[in-house]
Subunit: 432 residues, 2 copies
C-alpha cells in the first residue's frame, strides 16, 4: 500500500490518484451486445440455453413459483431467519420514512402547484448469485420497491447448480411477498427484463449490482433508451478518515472488509497520523492471513493507498475529491466533519460504526454510487422506485393574474400558439 503526503500532492496528482478508470473492455461490450440481441430475438429459448452454458443447469421452467419458494424458504436455519428479519425491519423502517406527501403551493392567488409520487409500475431487480448469494441485495432493492408500491416486481437471479435458488433468497422473497423468482443471471437476465420474454415480464427500470457483464448490459440498455437503470457502477470502495482516536485494528478490519469484495476494490486510508498509518498496515498483515478470501483482499490492498494529511480539513478535502462510495469517519470528532462532507455515498460515523453494519442491517441502503459518481448521484432509496408528477390548477382569477406574463414570454420566444392558448381563455373568462 503506497503512502502519499497530502501537502506534497499537486492538484493534478490528486486528480490522478482519485481517478478510478472504468475499464472499457471492447470484448465484453461486444459479447454483451450479442447476448442482448439473442434474448431480444429468441426470448425464453436464449435464457434456457444460457442457463445451460453459463450456470451449468438444464432448466425445465424459467421461474420458481410461490409453492417452490415456500418449500425452499423453509430450509433456512433459525439464526439466519432471525438475522434477515432484523435487517428487514431496520431497512423497512428507514425506507418507509422516505415516503412523503407534499403540500400544495399557491404560487399566485388562483395558481396552485404540487407534486404527487407514483410508483414505477414495473421494476426489475437483479440479485447476483454466482460466487456468492446476496440476500442483503434482495432486501435492499425489494423493500423500497414494495414500499413505493410498484405493481410488478420482477426478480432475476441465476439458478444454482440444483436449478433452484438458495434458502436465503427464497426467505427474502417470502418476506417481501414476491411470488416468483426468475432463474436467469448475467447480461441475459438484464436483457430479458428490458425487452421482456414469454416468461419474464418487461420492466421500465432495472436495479442491482453484478459482474462486468451485468454492468455492461445495464449500460447498453440505458443507452438504447429501452429502460432506465439505478445508476452506473464500478468496483466497490471505501475511504476511511482516521485520526489518533481511531483503533488501528478496527480500521484494518474495515479496509479488509472492502478489499475482500474483489481484487479491483479500493480501500483508501486518509489519516492525520503517520503512526496510525503504520499501525494499520501492521494490523492488515495480522488480520489478512485468517481470511478465506485473503488472496483477493491482498490484491485489492496492493491496488489501494494511504494519504497522510496535516489535519482533518485536508483529509475531508481529499475525501470530497475522491467522492467515495463508503466513507468511514474513524474519529471522535466526526460531528464537526459532517457539514464538510460534500461527496459520498454513505457515511459511517465514529469508531463503532463499521461499513458492514450498513451493508446488511442498520437500515440504510447499500446500493451506492461508486467510481466518483457520488459527485452527481445518490444511492438507491425509496425515491428510486417513484416518479414525482407535477400538477397545476388555475382559477379564472389565477388566469387573469398569470396570463399577461405568459403572453409576453411566449411572444419573446416567438411561440405565438403558446400565447394564443392563454389569450383565447382570457377572452372567454368574462363568461366564467
Amino acid at each position: 500500500m503506497k503512502i502519499y503526503s497530502y501537502t506534497n500532492l499537486s492538484k493534478q496528482k490528486i486528480e490522478d490518484i482519485c481517478l478510478r478508470t472504468l475499464e472499457d473492455d471492447a470484448a465484453i461490450a461486444e459479447r454483451v451486445g450479442q447476448i442482448i440481441n439473442q434474448v431480444k430475438t429468441t426470448g425464453d429459448q436464449a435464457l434456457l440455453d444460457y442457463a445451460g452454458q453459463f450456470d451449468g443447469v438444464k432448466l425445465e421452467r424459467l421461474f420458481l413459483d410461490e409453492q417452490e419458494i415456500e418449500t425452499i424458504a423453509s430450509e433456512i436455519p433459525q439464526d439466519a431467519r432471525e438475522a434477515i428479519e432484523t435487517a428487514y425491519a431496520n431497512i423497512r423502517m428507514f425506507h418507509a420514512a422516505q415516503l412523503k406527501t407534499e403540500d400544495k403551493i399557491e404560487t399566485m392567488p388562483g395558481v396552485s402547484c404540487w407534486r404527487e409520487s407514483r410508483p414505477i409500475s414495473r421494476v426489475g431487480l437483479y440479485i447476483p448469485g454466482g460466487s456468492a448469494v446476496l440476500p442483503s441485495t434482495f432486501l435492499m432493492l425489494g423493500i423500497p420497491a414494495m414500499l413505493a408500491g410498484c405493481e410488478e416486481i420482477v426478480v432475476c437471479s441465476p439458478p444454482q447448480k440444483d436449478g433452484k435458488t438458495n434458502c436465503y433468497l427464497a426467505y427474502c422473497a417470502k418476506l417481501l411477498g414476491i411470488k416468483k423468482i426468475y432463474l436467469a443471471g448475467g447480461a441475459q437476465a438484464i436483457a430479458a427484463m428490458a425487452y421482456g420474454t414469454t416468461s419474464v415480464p418487461q420492466v421500465y427500470k432495472i436495479f442491482g449490482p453484478g459482474n462486468r457483464y451485468v454492468t455492461q448490459a445495464k449500460q447498453q440498455i440505458l443507452a438504447s433508451g429501452i429502460a432506465a437503470i439505478d445508476m452506473p457502477a464500478g468496483p466497490s470502495e471505501v475511504l476511511i478518515i482516521a485520526d489518533r482516536s481511531a483503533s488501528p485494528a478496527f480500521v484494518a478490519a474495515d479496509l479488509l472488509a472492502q478489499a475482500e469484495h474483489g481484487s479491483d476494490s479500493q480501500s483508501i486510508l486518509v489519516s492525520t497520523s503517520t503512526e496510525l498509518i503504520a499501525e494499520v498496515m501492521q494490523e492488515i498483515d495480522n488480520q489478512i492471513s485468517y481470511l478465506p478470501r485473503a488472496t483477493v483482499a491482498a490484491a485489492a490492498i496492493a491496488n489501494s493507498y494511504a494519504v497522510h494529511c496535516e489535519n482533518l480539513q485536508q483529509a475531508m478535502a481529499f475525501s470530497n475529491a475522491y467522492a467515495p462510495e463508503h466513507l468511514i469517519l474513524a474519529t471522535e470528532e466526526f460531528e464537526a466533519l459532517i457539514p464538510q462532507i460534500s461527496n459520498a455515498g454513505s457515511v459511517f460515523l465514529g469508531n463503532l460504526t463499521p461499513e458492514s453494519a450498513g451493508d446488511y442491517a442498520s437500515g440504510t441502503n447499500h446500493t451506492l454510487p461508486t467510481s466518483g459518481f457520488a459527485k452527481a448521484y445518490s444511492g438507491v432509496s425509496t425515491d428510486s422506485f417513484l416518479k414525482k408528477i407535477t400538477f397545476q390548477h388555475i382559477t379564472p382569477s389565477g388566469l387573469k393574474a398569470i396570463g399577461p406574463a405568459v403572453e409576453i414570454l411566449a411572444t419573446a420566444e416567438g411561440l405565438q400558439a403558446h400565447k394564443n392558448a392563454i389569450t383565447i381563455r382570457l377572452k372567454s373568462t368574462d363568461g366564467y
Copy 2:
C-alpha cells in the same frame, strides 16, 4: 389527424401507436462523436472554430462577463422584465418548497440513520439560442440550481449574430446571480462542460434541452461516464383528455401550442365525445392559419392522432400507456381522474390551465420526460441538483443489538472480513 376508436384497438396496436421511435441517426452520432473528441483534445480553440462554423461569429473571448451581462440586460423592455420577474417568483416559490431536511430514524436502540442533501457542486446548464431564445429554460434550470446551492453553475448558450447573448437571457443571469455566460452552443457546448476547457469549467451533471446534436451529445457523455445528465430527451408532446365539458377552441389552441415546437412534436387528443373531436379538428383549421409557425404546426398535427374512448377510465388507461410529457385534463371531472394517473410528466387540470402556463410561469418545471420516459423518470426539480447522502451512527449498545445479525448475514454471504469488522468491535466494547 387520424382518429382511432379505443375499443377497436388491440393491445399490440395501442403499443404501436404509443411508441415514439427515437431516431437512431448514425450520421449524427458519428458527427457528434467527432465534435466531442475535437473539444476534448483542443478545448477553447475548437469552441472558437465551431462558433465561426455553426453560429457565424468570430468570437474574441468565449464568455460574457458580469459587466457585459449587466449592459445587455439593461436593454430589456419593461413588460418583459416584469414578466420574467413574475415567472421567477413563482418558479422560485414552488422549487424552494422542495428543499427538505429529514429526521433521524432510530432503526434499533443505539442505531441512528438519516439522509442529508448536498448540492452537486458543479452543474452545467445548456440554454438553446438558435432559432428561438429561451429565457424560460434559463429560469427552469437556474432557479433550482441556485436553490440547491450548487457552487459553480456553468451556463452555455450559443452566441447570437452580434457575438453576444440577448437581453432576456442576460436579465435572467442577473436575477440568478450568474456572472458569466459561455458563448458555446450545440454538441460542442455539451462536450466543453463535460471535459472542461481553459475557459469553460468542467461539471458533474449537465442539464437542458436542445436539438438532435445536443441530445445526442448528452447521450454520448452519459454513456462515457464522464458526467451525469438530467434525462434522456425526445421531441415534445402533449396528450389532452377532453370530454363534453371541454372547450373545442381551448383544446385546439393547446394542441397547436405543442405542434408549433417542431414537426416531430405530437399532439394527442383523447376524448369521450366524437362531436368534440370533430369540433376540435374544425378549430385547429380555423386557428392554424394565423400562426407564424403554421407549416411546422401542420406537419406535427399530421403526425398526431385522436382516440375516441367510451369513458374517462378508458381515456386514462390510454394516457398511462402513452405516458405523456404533458397531460391536460380538459374536463370538469379532473379531481376524480388524478388518482388514476400513473405515468405523466406534468399535469394541467381543468379547462383554464393551459400547458403554456406551466411552460413559463405557474411555478412547475418545464424540463420533463418525453418519449414515454415518464414511465420511469421525473421531471427536473430541485432534487435534480442535489444528492442525498445517508449517514449512520452506532453506539456500544446499538452494536450489541445489531452485531449478531450482521455477523450471521456476512457469514451466509461468505464474507468473513465483513463479519470480522463487527466481531473485533464487539470483543472490545466491554472497554467502552
